[in-house]
């Protein structure tokens, strides 16, 4: 079963704009992770945010976590064509050390 749900399912923006994706989950977590997947390729780990953290930055990425609402957001600033990919949130639940993925957001960057 899917733990997380991403919103929106698909997003198309102009190059240079910011892209925001949201993730909601169901159970208590140790951490939440965001992954990127280019078409036909494997998953690439982007960033991990621990349950006791509220915000984390990595380059053009900004992730927030609200454990009271069981939600997270991924912001990509100054988007580039190379950011076109599917983005997944994944949760590491406290009840068991397994990583469960959401359904993903397909991001398209228009030139």
């Amino acid at each position: 079963s899917q733990q997380g749900e991403e919103d929106p399912q698909a997003l198309s923006i102009q190059e240079g704009e910011n892209a925001t994706m949201n993730c909601s989950y169901k159970t208590s977590i140790n951490n939440l992770q965001w992954y990127r997947q280019n078409s036909g390729r494997g998953l690439v780990h982007l960033i991990l945010i621990r349950s006791n953290e509220r915000e984390k930055h990595s380059g053009r990425l900004r992730v927030t976590l609200d454990t009271s609402k069981k939600s997270s957001s991924l912001l990509i600033t100054a988007s580039r064509a190379a950011d076109t990919a599917s983005y997944f949130c994944a949760t590491d639940a406290t009840s068991a050390s397994k990583i469960i993925f959401g359904s993903g957001t397909r991001l398209s960057i228009r030139p």
Partner: protein
Amino acid sequence: EAGVAQSPRYKIIEKRQSVAFWCNPISGHATLYWYQQILGQGPKLLIQFQNNGVVDDSQLPKDRFSAERLKGVDSTLKIQPAKLEDSAVYLCASSFIDRAMNTEAFFGQGTRLTVV
């Protein structure tokens, strides 16, 4: 550091045939996962190993899927017999648990299976 290796990259088989996928995790990673990713969906966890023991296989269709991780290193995932709905990308991942008990998974490129 070498990543997670999977083979083959692609496989086309007829329904009711058998198929096997192989995964070599990152050295030292005790946890190994197999995920099934159907086109347009997120990865679905099939089975998780801790060393050579099964931690979770609740989503594995055990009537046709089997997996093993002999010696706690390499792993194989088998489908026998395959059905059309098994067409998907099969992803292997491995992970370690850091001092703060956080898990980060590293993925292989996957095996794309087409059942015709």
